[in-house]
Symmetry: C2
């Protein structure tokens, strides 16, 4: 609302905004919600905040357009076909800052003051070489801390030298694409799939071949097996994004055998493995692998905070030196003092503690959301993907238009994603991907029942029409 008012010139430059308390009263919203909206506008540059003086409207440049107002077709004529595909396919259609957007986490409980102290400590201890690029795959004590963490948390046994510190899963995927695959080579991806991975592969010139996912994970069929072999196989076995399937042991063994037979590399994105709520967790493919064909990747963004931009890649031993050099050549990594702070954060148990608290909080949010959704689980509606991760999937009958339901929910400020938005060839999957990472428990309690009611209502109406 505010952004629109500023863009339209109804709030002139330099005018002072009312306090967030007054605004909240005026708009009938909680003060938290108002503050969050104001902060976002400060980051984007619509507003400036001056301590002790208040919040002011900035002068708008003539080129600024609202995110909602940007016209994709107007841009499209200027950029490459690859660029057009990147920014128009597999994207959210608008800024989603509503409670149930999948892939978001609530990082307001991150131990900020501890983190501040650790960072300041390591800046104080830093020596000039720590300000340089990192030539050796990352700061050694952080690589060791990650290896120790994976040993404890995932039963893996990597050596420190196999760990490469990256700026997150996106960079890990790009590095693997560029060092392991040539232009036009085939990458198997799950259908439906995680958008970020698709974009990494598309932009690096790989040919994407979607492979159907079932309840046991990626499920290659005979035609898939008899086609040209893949160079890369990208999977999210701990909690398939977005269906939530957990890959079975049988399927894991089968996939390793396929990789061996076709000389393919498996890229194991151990997405959401930290959030395990039920049953026995499966060992990662990287640990089952006997042939050094699995590259394992993780990130700290779901447990700590997304803007940290530190993740890791565990590579087979005989690739370690090539990956260190390629990472330096392509990315010139740095941020060693930050890496040092994170190493101590992990070594001294703060990461484990933060993860524990986060897991407890999310378990409660998950249970509350599942309870709220019970009333709509009828007429062929089921729920899946609830044992791990920070989202679940409400599966709808095939005849239901999930995009329409998501649009109706968005009008009530409840953002969920239609399952079909993640599909390539699948026409049989319709559903809603609902995240519970972002919303606080109170909002899940408030909005969960609305969600269930709207879903039931929409199905009735859409079935009729």
């Amino acid at each position: 609302v505010l952004r629109t008012a500023i863009v339209a010139g109804r709030l002139p430059a330099s005018s002072q905004l009312p306090s967030s308390r007054d605004l909240a009263g005026e708009l009938g919203m909680s003060r938290n919600t108002v503050n969050r909206a104001l902060n976002q506008l400060i980051i984007e540059g619509y507003l400036s905040s001056h301590v002790g003086r208040g919040t002011f409207v900035n002068e708008l440049s003539s080129t600024r357009t609202s995110p909602q107002g940007r016209s994709k077709t107007a841009q499209a004529s200027h950029i490459s076909t690859r660029g057009q595909a990147l920014i128009t396919q597999f994207s959210a259609s608008q800024l989603e800052i509503y409670p149930f957007t999948p892939g978001l986490v609530d990082f307001s409980n991150f131990p900020l003051s501890l983190w501040r102290r650790l960072q300041d400590k390591h800046w104080r201890l830093s020596y000039p070489d720590m300000l340089d690029y990192s030539y050796s795959g990352g700061y050694a004590p952080l690589r060791k801390a990650v290896a120790d963490h994976l040993r404890l948390a995932r039963g893996m046994s990597p050596e420190t030298d196999q760990i490469i510190i990256t700026s997150g899963t996106q960079q890990s995927l790009e590095l693997c694409s560029q060092l392991l695959a040539d232009l036009g080579e085939i990458v198997w991806v799950e259908d439906p799939a995680y958008w970020g991975a698709l974009k990494a592969f598309m932009s690096k010139g790989l040919t994407i071949q979607p492979i159907k996912v079932d309840l046991e994970g990626i499920a290659p069929t005979a035609p898939d097996m008899n086609g040209p072999p893949p160079r890369l196989i990208y999977v999210t076995p701990s909690h398939q994004y977005p269906t939530g399937s957990v890959m079975s042991m049988a399927r894991r063994a089968e996939l390793l055998s396929i990789a061996r037979g076709s000389h393919a590399w498996i890229l194991e994105d151990d997405y959401d493995s930290e959030f395990h709520f039920h049953g026995v967790p499966q060992p990662p493919l990287a640990e089952l692998d006997q042939d050094g064909r699995v590259l394992y990747m993780g990130s700290f963004s779901k447990v700590l905070y997304p803007g940290l931009k530190l993740g890791y890649l565990v590579v087979p031993r005989n690739l370690a030196s090539a990956f260190k050099q390629g990472h330096y050549d392509l990315n010139r990594p740095g941020q060693i003092p930050l890496q040092a702070a994170l190493a101590e954060f992990i070594e001294h148990g703060h990461f484990a503690k933060t993860l524990y608290l986060s897991r407890v909080a999310h378990a409660e949010k998950r249970a509350t959301l599942m309870d709220s959704l019970q009333p709509c689980l009828k007429n062929g509606v089921t729920i899946s993907g609830v044992n791990q991760g920070l989202h679940l999937c409400v599966n709808l009958p095939k005849i239901v238009n999930d995009v329409q339901i998501a649009q109706r929910l968005a009008q009530k400020h409840l953002t969920v994603r239609p399952l079909s938005a993640y599909c390539f060839n699948r026409k049989d999957l319709r559903g809603l991907v609902i995240g519970y990472g972002y919303a606080p428990l109170t909002e899940i309690k408030t909005h969960g029942p609305t969600l269930a009611r709207e879903i039931s209502q929409a199905i009735l109406e859409l079935k009729v029409s």
Copy 2:
């Protein structure tokens, strides 16, 4: 020496090293040099330092190999053709931590304690949204600070909305490649060229077409003009890397006209423009451009420190919204508290002050190096590229093998790069690229004359042989 001793097992795990003072005495090196070597081994994981207890040797994993000892051919069979090209072509053959390596800067004078205070302040002021990814091309106050800086320092007039904060020039180049060019499309690069840019283009599937550089910068010939048109033209007009040419006004106008005629984008890497020592600086192509065909990029790594990993891209107005979205889709940028600290650092004049001090210090280093090199400027040896930047180029007669000279210098621990290592098709360029960014003035005074003597001596011998 130490690394070799550790790898060879002559220094067993857990053994304590003598103090850096004792080591310096024993090895006949300055304590600074010893400390730098020890710090590097801590970053790489060979050593651990414990405050108040000393420095200890770590247990080595069985896969660890020394950087010098890595065998490129052994890796090559595992990785893609693209990956092999990336890590074997256009790379330094070994770790270069010696005084005259081009592209390195001395960041030991960076105002570390001020920077620590600013970072801590902005972490204290940060609110949860600042821990999230950045959706809007970077933290708005930093984008404004960069626009203001470019207005003052380069006479440009970008609007804040045209500035995209990236993790540096490497990411800026990759973003441009992916959003503006399709697989196989042609990018004109300077011959000789900057390695990092070549790798960005190679890894993104572009076809590299080298264009000869002369004293006025990139100089397309009739065959270049009559061939298939380029999609991208990558140039370093302020101080061509590595020859040091400054692009003339006539050439700038010509290049803009070529871009207009062939619907190409110019990627202007304003490398080294901060370090201007002589004559009137030329206006950037981005400022001369009337058609919105120039993308301008800069970084903070040369003035502040490389590991900061923040740079910027100035895009034409009609590309701003596509680049913001593409940047988010491909890179999930973050680090907003760090961006906030940098914004204040620039706004409050600390950046300008640091740059001023750095410029003064480098002017003296440049003058000292030029004086030292005078004695070898005979027998067809000339010097160029001295008006800007942090390196210069000693041009040798065509018949001289510059790789051999560089190898001989390396044996005396003086790392310079042979000009031919940067060439594609050029057989007429032989020379030595000598950096004065990294070595302190005292080292330039000590080693400069040796450099001159060795060059003269080598030319005499190599001419005879």
